[in-house]
């Protein structure tokens, strides 16, 4: 009688090895497998809220702050939905930005102009332009769906004392300002530690470093500080995240045009 391996063990073995399964042979397959694992581990948080402070710094070191509140929710089979409300500068206070992300199709975006009480549908073709005058582009802060890039695994490397995979990714969506990005992915958090951005002429444009990861709900890793440096202009932006909240009960209904109209 042939001894059969229990099915539980087989599936357990497969699951355990998921990011490096036997099919991930080529560098492209390994890169994609890592991206999928990043996505898989960051699924199930339902919705989240946070406040973020943007510190804009010019090349002389002069600083100015921008305060925002952001809420977002996961949508199964689609990209995330998010709402950003601007608190400062005071002249744009109450301006709010609603975004329905799609993997490859263009996102749906609406802007609330509070002085006019007007909600405007805006073009989402502006991917590479500065977000609120910062060194972050819209494409840097929008939801990172797996399908948005093609991938290539390059190597393993230790960065700031942490083990990381280095993958190269190439935007698959239209109107990106980048030819490619190098991403250092932490092997424990499955979150980026650093991203090097290369512009369309393939010269090194910006570097983004992620600091002070904290774990929430015993599962989800979130950065507390992101430092973006523009090597071509000498300008930089710090994004400080505070007051993370998860599973707050936000619904679809909190991310439509009506919700945008009453955003405060």
């Amino acid at each position: 009688m042939k001894k059969q391996i229990p099915l539980v063990l087989v599936t357990g073995f497969l699951l355990f090895n998921l990011p490096f399964n036997v099919f991930a042979n080529t560098a492209e397959e390994r890169g994609l497998a890592i991206a999928k694992e990043i996505d898989r581990r960051d699924t199930g948080w339902d919705d989240q809220k946070a406040t973020l402070v943007m510190t804009l710094r010019n090349k002389h070191g002069d600083e100015t702050n921008r305060e925002n509140r952001m809420s977002s929710m996961e949508v199964k089979g689609e990209g995330d939905r998010s709402l950003i409300i601007f608190d400062t500068p005071k002249d744009v206070k109450g301006t709010a930005f609603l975004s329905h992300t799609h993997a490859l199709e263009s996102d749906d975006q609406w802007l609330l102009l509070p002085a006019l009480k007007r909600v405007k549908r805006v073009s989402s073709s502006n991917k590479s332009g500065p977000f609120m005058g910062s060194e972050f582009a819209y494409e840097d802060i929008s939801s990172q769906e797996v399908e948005k890039y093609s991938y290539k695994y390059l190597k393993d490397e230790v960065i700031n004392g942490r083990d990381a995979f280095v993958i190269e990714r190439f935007p698959a969506y239209k109107k990106s300002g980048y030819k490619r990005q190098l991403v250092w992915v932490d092997k424990e958090y499955y979150q980026p530690l650093k991203i090097d951005f290369y512009d369309r002429k393939n010269s090194h444009l910006k570097t983004l470093a992620y600091h002070d990861y904290k774990q929430y709900l015993g599962k989800y890793w979130r950065t507390s500080r992101m430092e973006m440096e523009n090597h071509q202009t000498g300008k930089s932006t710090t994004l400080t995240w505070k007051k993370y909240e998860f599973k707050t009960g936000l619904k679809n209904r909190d991310f439509n045009k009506n919700a945008l109209k009453r955003a405060r």
Partner: protein
């Protein structure tokens, strides 16, 4: 005086607000204080008019929510003191309303400002609020409207029902103002088709929905027209213009398609009850170039065609006109923006040129430059009385 009368009416409401402030913690005050100066290039056409005008304005806003945002109270007041123009010194309760938000409906009761529509050059569909004509002649500023509004939010769209309780009449520039008709319009003697005059209750319904790249809105309005017709009244040796407000029915449609860098926009109304029945439309296109040469600069090209089936008997100046606009956004730390526009009468020769540019200074001050030029306005055109009213305006606003 009208403004003091309004102020007295506001006083109890202000007291009510200050009481709720002491009781709650989540209350929030914001607003702005602005100083504005306007200089006219040419000598005044009419007596009483000045060359330079200066004014200051205050616009405080209050917001308080409780029950985790299920209920909220919103209030804002706009007040301006002009040193040369009597009618422009005014105070208006822009908003004072209570909101209740439920799972699939929202109820709002009180004075509100709402906006309907998609186009830039004129707002045909936007009928709920009266235009604040002494504040701005371009129709962008609105007076607060008392109402009860129930919004029903479903997967198939949003249905808004409005009961508009009480009519706000349009105020017109006094004799010392520029940008006015030759005959001063006397709004205190306004005439109404309805015997109920200002207390006529108006109704509106709006359906709006998003279908992929398309944002659509369909609206019905029954009640007092926000836009008056005018009657010539002989008062002894003087002749004066008196506004006449009809009871109208208006059906409105607004559509925008957002296709990559293109925006396609259309607004159309069908109105009856105000002289002959008529149709008016605005059809527009907008194309934007983003992050030009990786500098962050955006340039948008806007064009709109304005049409009114009444042609020369139209009550506005845009019966067959073309608007071209150029929008710049630097996307810098100071949010520098500019909008240049031209409206050309296709049948006549009248041309209106406009420029608006603004930039933030520091974190709380915004500077705005605005200019208007009226040329080739022949005496058949409604813009004829603006022929010598080219101006440049500088505004400094402090935001808190």
């Amino acid at each position: 005086m009208l403004s003091t009368r309004r102020f007295k009416r506001l006083l109890p409401l202000m007291l009510l607000l200050s009481q709720s402030i002491t009781l709650s913690l989540a209350n929030e005050w914001t607003g702005n204080l602005s100083a504005e100066t306007r200089g006219f290039a040419e000598k005044a056409t009419l007596t009483d008019q000045s060359q330079f005008y200066g004014s200051i304005s205050l616009h405080p806003e209050y917001y308080h929510e409780w029950e985790n945002g299920v209920q909220s109270l919103t209030a804002s007041v706009f007040a301006r003191k002009s040193f040369q123009n009597e009618s422009r010194s005014h105070i208006d309760l822009r908003e004072l309303y209570w909101t209740f938000v439920s799972e699939d409906w929202e109820l709002r009761v009180g004075v509100r400002k709402i906006f309907w529509g998609v186009t830039e050059s004129q707002h045909l569909v936007d009928i709920v609020n009266q235009t604040d004509f002494v504040e701005s002649f371009d129709g962008e500023e609105k007076l607060g409207q008392p109402m009860v509004n129930l919004a029903w939010i479903q997967d198939w769209g949003t249905l808004d029902l409005f009961i508009l309780t009480g009519f706000r009449q349009r105020e017109f520039p006094s004799s010392d103002a520029r940008l006015r008709t030759e005959l001063v319009i006397n709004s205190d003697e306004a005439l109404y088709e309805s015997d109920q005059e200002k207390s006529h209750i108006d109704f509106a319904i709006r359906y709006s929905h998003v279908l992929g790249d398309w944002d659509i809105g369909l609206s019905l309005f029954y009640g007092t027209s926000r836009e008056p017709r005018f009657e010539l009244v002989n008062a002894g040796s003087n002749v004066k213009l008196v506004p006449y407000y009809d009871i109208i029915n208006q059906t409105g449609l607004d559509v925008q398609a957002t296709l990559e860098n293109w925006l396609w926009k259309a607004e159309s109304i069908y109105r009856n009850g105000m002289g002959e029945n008529y149709i008016a439309t605005t059809f527009g296109l907008e194309y934007s170039f983003y992050d030009i040469a990786s500098t962050g600069l955006d340039i948008g090209l806007v064009t709109e065609h304005l049409y009114d089936s009444r042609q020369s008997t139209a009550t506005n100046a845009f019966e067959n006109d073309l608007m071209l606009g150029l929008r710049f956004a630097l996307n810098d730390t100071q949010s520098t923006e500019a909008l240049a526009g031209i409206i050309q009468d296709i049948d006549g020769e009248a041309t209106v040129l406009s420029l608006e540019a603004n930039r933030r200074i520091g974190d709380q001050i915004k500077i705005t430059l605005e200019g208007y030029l009226f040329s080739h306005t022949d005496n058949q055109d409604l813009l004829y009385s603006f022929r010598n009213d080219d101006y440049v305006q500088l505004e400094l606003g402090y935001f808190f």
